[in-house]
């Protein structure tokens, strides 16, 4: 019995209908004409009333035809940062007929933005781009796409929900890191420390005179002999260090968000400087590394910080 009741209250109409602004005006005029017809008995007013009411019915039929066969496939972006527009693409197809004036929105997961498809036919599927903005960081469970149309007259907006389960990881908001990282692991500053790193990495950048105290092993002997002075080889990344950034799991939500954004910004900065970055979130550790793929791994881990399960409709996230 209880399950039945719950099922009943969870039941949703297959279509929802909203009256647009011009639709409200239209309805007011229709009511006015109807009252005028009833009051005066003027048959021509009855004729107009019939036309207006039939236009409402025709609007319902045509909008249903437009929505009925629409199929949507979501094409997720490579990266999505909180508070920043990103492109979410949809492949819209139909089995038959035409669809007009379709608006696509993500339902209830804090994604703002929509895509608009003027017309789509069975013969020509359409890929359309929505400029979305995620309000906050985290794994978003995209469950439904809302497809609505104001076709044919713009009086009503009819909506249909298309179930489409996918996960979108929203990386922390991009910003500036106002903190410095903890002390680097491994190689200290300068040419000392790990001998593997003394030569620097990357392509040859140039030669300069060896300063006092610098490692003689980096002298370019042939050029030095030619010029008669000691020349040191310089490479692209001279001082490559390793950092492990930490995010404490015990922070309150606001501080946690801030920390994640700072760590993301630091990661980006350190990686762009040639360093290697690792992450320690308490529950998850990522070894230091470099390159775009590694940055993505760090950002993904940061997106999951504080969440056990993806954010769902209504904001019922499972925070750790």
């Amino acid at each position: 019995m209880w399950q039945r009741l719950r099922a009943f209250f969870k039941w949703r109409a297959p279509r929802t209908l909203k009256v647009t602004r011009s639709g409200r005006t239209f309805l007011v005029v229709t009511v006015g004409v109807g009252l005028g017809a009833l009051n005066t008995g003027n048959n021509l007013l009855y004729l107009i009333l019939g036309l207006l009411l039939s236009l409402i019915v025709a609007s319902g039929l045509l909008s249903e035809r437009s929505l009925r066969d629409v199929q949507v496939k979501r094409l997720l972006p490579d990266a999505a940062h909180a508070g920043e527009p990103f492109a979410l693409r949809y492949l819209v197809t139909r089995r038959e007929g035409w669809g007009f004036a379709l608006t696509l929105r993500e339902l209830g997961v804090g994604l703002k933005g929509h895509a608009f498809v003027p017309m789509v036919s069975a013969a020509e599927p359409v890929t359309v781009r929505a400029q979305m903005v995620a309000e906050r960081r985290g794994p978003l469970a995209l469950t439904e796409v809302e497809v609505s149309t104001i076709f044919p007259f713009g009086l009503f907006s009819k909506t249909r929900r298309v179930e489409l389960d996918e996960l979108l990881l929203v990386f922390p908001r991009r910003g500036f890191a106002c903190i410095e990282p903890d002390a680097a692991q491994g190689a200290p500053a300068g040419d000392g420390g790990n001998p593997r790193r003394r030569d620097g990495t990357g392509d040859l950048l140039g030669l300069r005179e060896l300063s006092e105290g610098e490692d003689a092993r980096r002298v370019h002997w042939i050029k030095s002999a030619t010029l008669g002075k000691l020349l040191k080889v310089e490479r692209e990344r001279e001082e490559r260090r390793q950092f492990v950034l930490k995010v404490a799991g015990s922070l309150d939500p606001a501080s946690l968000e801030l920390r994640c954004e700072e760590v993301a910004a630091l990661t980006r900065r350190l990686l762009s400087q040639g360093h290697e970055v690792g992450l320690d979130t308490g529950g998850q550790r990522i070894r230091p590394g470099g390159g775009p793929g590694h940055e993505r791994r760090v950002l993904s881990a940061l997106a999951w910080v504080g969440f056990d399960a993806p954010l769902r409709e209504g904001g019922s996230e499972a925070r750790r």
Partner: protein, 670 residues
């Protein structure tokens, strides 16, 4: 269609829908001329793509305030009806919006004011044209709205094929129109069915010219207008297609050489007028409706009218009872000036009247009558003195010796002498004047009577048209009273429009009659009748109230139209089915193959397109790069479930044409 093309089409359709709505009130003839001119100029400017009021809110507000003050001020002072003022104001607001920046908000305002105009038009007019205006508005505004909903916010640069959209919306509009008819028929009439406010004279005004006098002369041609001016229901119904009867309106006794006038004194007005002391036994009753085009208050009736009753005037506020005023031996007119009238009249085929009290009144001649006129009468009549015989002799003479023409001879000093001795041709007024004056030269009492001759069957009534206006002579015969003698040749009596115009007018009249009976005056009783007819079949199939008017050539035309539509539909379906079985990309492949053929590139038997492309690439054929792109696009569209937009497809095909291919390429043997 390009975005600019779509916008232009949408705005033109919007303007046309607004114009259809404005026309619905203009056709009532109530809209002030200056408002009509203002709207016309605004429409023209808008159609030319100019929007002079864009970004000028102050000018807009001042203009609208000014028009509101003028219109509603005039309404307050009783110079213009409030509904007309409101409709005109809606029209001017619409014209203002046509000249403003074309945003979606502006479009909505135009459609809203157009709807208000249509609602106002329903109160002002009941003509068939209103139905056409309503349908035109429904179609054009629907497509315009449809074109606006496919435009995203902020505009679009995308080329779109709008034909499917127009098809879909047209189907929706058709559903809406059919639904409107169904609703109209079935929705119970819960209120009193007061007929709508009848139309004022309309744009053409009154056309019959039933004035206080008949003046000879003038220049130009008399137009034979097919416009209906009166509907006459005769009881007992003669049932004939044409009545060809005289409907006298007004008689004239005094002729001054150029003009006929009546000198009778009006009696006090009454609700019922009886022209004879004793009613004849045999009378013919008529219910007559004088339409807005009639333009006079003089009442008509079949010859010889004896009683006028049940007069009502159709005013802007509805139907009101009104009284009659009799001018003895001259006319009966209705008291209240209005757009249209209805009344009942009884007529006797012949009225017995022994003597004429004031015979001298009908024997008076103009002071400066040409002596040749009397000489002519003497010459024709000789010793004949009997009134009717004299009249008949003169009638025959005039019909034999004079020609009928609608061409006017211009203003001359003595139009009668000009007709009799110079032009020897004229219209009905010349013939009637000549016969009357010739009779009077012999001291025979005679007068000119103006009215209508004709009566064409439309539905259950006979219609009199403006072109049926006629004048004839009545001669007094002791013991018989006034007897009609028409000197005009038979070919010159009644309406003589060109055949096509007559057919159009007749068709329109029948449709108008059907429209009035089935739409404007549709009532609760009609609904009951329909319900009854559904329950029990009608006794006579031919007497169905809802059958379409009997239009000559209607059913063959409709049948031909239906057949043409069916054939077109079948061809479209067959074509669509044939196309539907194929993949959309197949057409593209055929186009590629056609271009390869034109370039003289032959494929080996069974060689697929991709292999041909590879072969041409190997030999570095000039067409190979373009063909390679086209082949890839085809394969992606055909097997990769990717779209191939029309623009890209056209570009790929165009690239194939541009290559400087050798004239021919002989395939190597496999």
């Amino acid at each position: 269609m390009t975005p600019a093309g779509r916008t232009r089409t949408r705005l033109v359709l919007r303007d046309l829908s607004a114009t259809a709505a404005f026309a619905s009130i203009v056709l009532s003839g109530s809209v002030p001329a200056w408002a009509l001119v203002a709207y016309g100029l605004a429409l023209l400017t808008s159609l030319l793509g100019r929007r002079p009021l864009t970004g000028r809110p102050t000018v807009s507000v001042i203009l609208l305030l000014l028009t509101a003050v003028v219109l509603f001020g005039a309404s307050f002072r009783g110079m213009i009806d409030l509904v007309v003022a409101a409709c005109t104001f809606a029209g001017l607001v619409t014209s203002h919006r046509l000249l403003s920046e074309p945003t979606s908000g502006t479009d909505q305002q135009v459609h809203l004011t157009s709807l208000l105009m249509l609602a106002g038009g329903a109160a002002l007019t009941g003509e068939l044209w209103y139905g056409l205006c309503l349908s035109a508005f429904a179609v054009t505004s629907s497509i315009s709205l449809g074109l606006s909903v496919i435009e995203p916010e902020g505009g679009s640069s995308e080329q779109l094929e709008v034909r499917p959209l127009v098809r879909s919306i047209s189907a929706g509009t058709l559903i809406a129109l059919l639904g409107a008819m169904g609703f109209f028929v079935l929705f119970p009439r819960l209120s009193w069915n007061i007929a709508s406010r009848r139309t004022p004279p309309g744009l053409l005004g009154g056309t019959t010219g039933m004035s206080d006098s008949v003046r000879l002369g003038g220049a130009g041609d008399i137009k034979s207008s097919p416009r209906a001016v009166a509907r006459v229901k005769v009881r007992p119904d003669p049932g004939s297609a044409r009545l060809d009867a005289y409907f006298p309106g007004r008689s004239f006794d005094v002729f001054d050489g150029r003009e006929w006038r009546g000198t009778g004194k009006a009696k006090p007005s009454r609700q019922m007028v009886r022209l004879v002391k004793e009613l004849p036994r045999k009378t013919v009753s008529q219910s007559i409706e004088l339409l807005p085009g009639y333009g006079s208050r003089t009442l008509l009736g079949l010859e010889h009218p004896v009683t006028f009753t049940a007069g009502s005037a159709l005013t802007a506020t509805g139907v009101t009872r009104t009284a009659f005023t009799e001018v003895p031996d001259e006319e009966v007119r209705i008291d209240q000036a209005s757009n249209g009238y209805s009344y009942s009249v009884s007529s006797a085929p012949e009225l017995q009247r022994e003597t004429l009290e004031d015979a001298e009144r009908y024997q008076r001649l103009p002071d400066a009558l040409d002596p040749r006129v009397k000489a002519l009468a003497d010459q024709v009549l000789g010793a004949e003195t009997r009134p009717l015989a004299s009249a008949t002799a003169l009638q025959r003479y005039l019909q034999r010796e004079y020609a009928y023409t609608l061409e006017l001879g211009g203003d001359v000093a003595d139009p009668l002498a000009d007709f009799l001795f110079v032009r020897k041709a004229g219209h009905c007024e010349h013939f009637a004047t000549a016969l009357t004056v010739l009779l009077r030269t012999r001291k025979i009492p005679a007068r000119v009577t103006a009215g209508f001759f004709g009566g064409e069957r439309v539905g259950s009534a006979y219609v009199l048209r403006a072109g049926d206006a006629h004048a004839w002579t009545q001669v007094f015969v002791d013991g018989r009273g006034w007897v009609t003698v028409d000197a005009t040749p038979a070919s010159g009596r009644g309406n003589q429009p060109p055949r096509l115009l007559a057919w159009l007018a007749s068709t329109y009249e029948r449709l108008e009659d059907w429209w009035r009976a089935r739409v404007v005056d549709y009532s609760f009783q009609d609904q009951v009748d329909i319900a009854r007819s559904l329950v029990s079949p009608p006794r006579e199939a031919s007497s169905s109230r809802w059958s379409l008017p009997a239009l000559p050539g209607l059913w063959p035309t409709l049948a031909a139209l239906a057949a043409a539509i069916a054939v077109y539909g079948a061809v479209q379906r067959g074509w669509g089915a044939r196309r539907g079985k194929r993949h959309a990309a197949t057409g593209f492949l055929e186009q590629i193959e056609a271009r390869l053929d034109r370039a003289g590139i032959a494929r080996l038997p069974g060689e697929p397109l991709e292999e041909l492309t590879a072969r041409l690439s190997q030999i570095a054929h000039p067409i190979a790069p373009a063909l390679s792109r086209a082949t890839r696009a085809y394969l992606l569209a055909r097997f990769g479930n990717q779209s191939l937009p029309a623009t890209e497809r056209a570009a790929l095909l165009q690239a194939l044409v541009r290559r400087d291919a050798p004239s021919s390429l002989t395939p190597s043997h496999p």
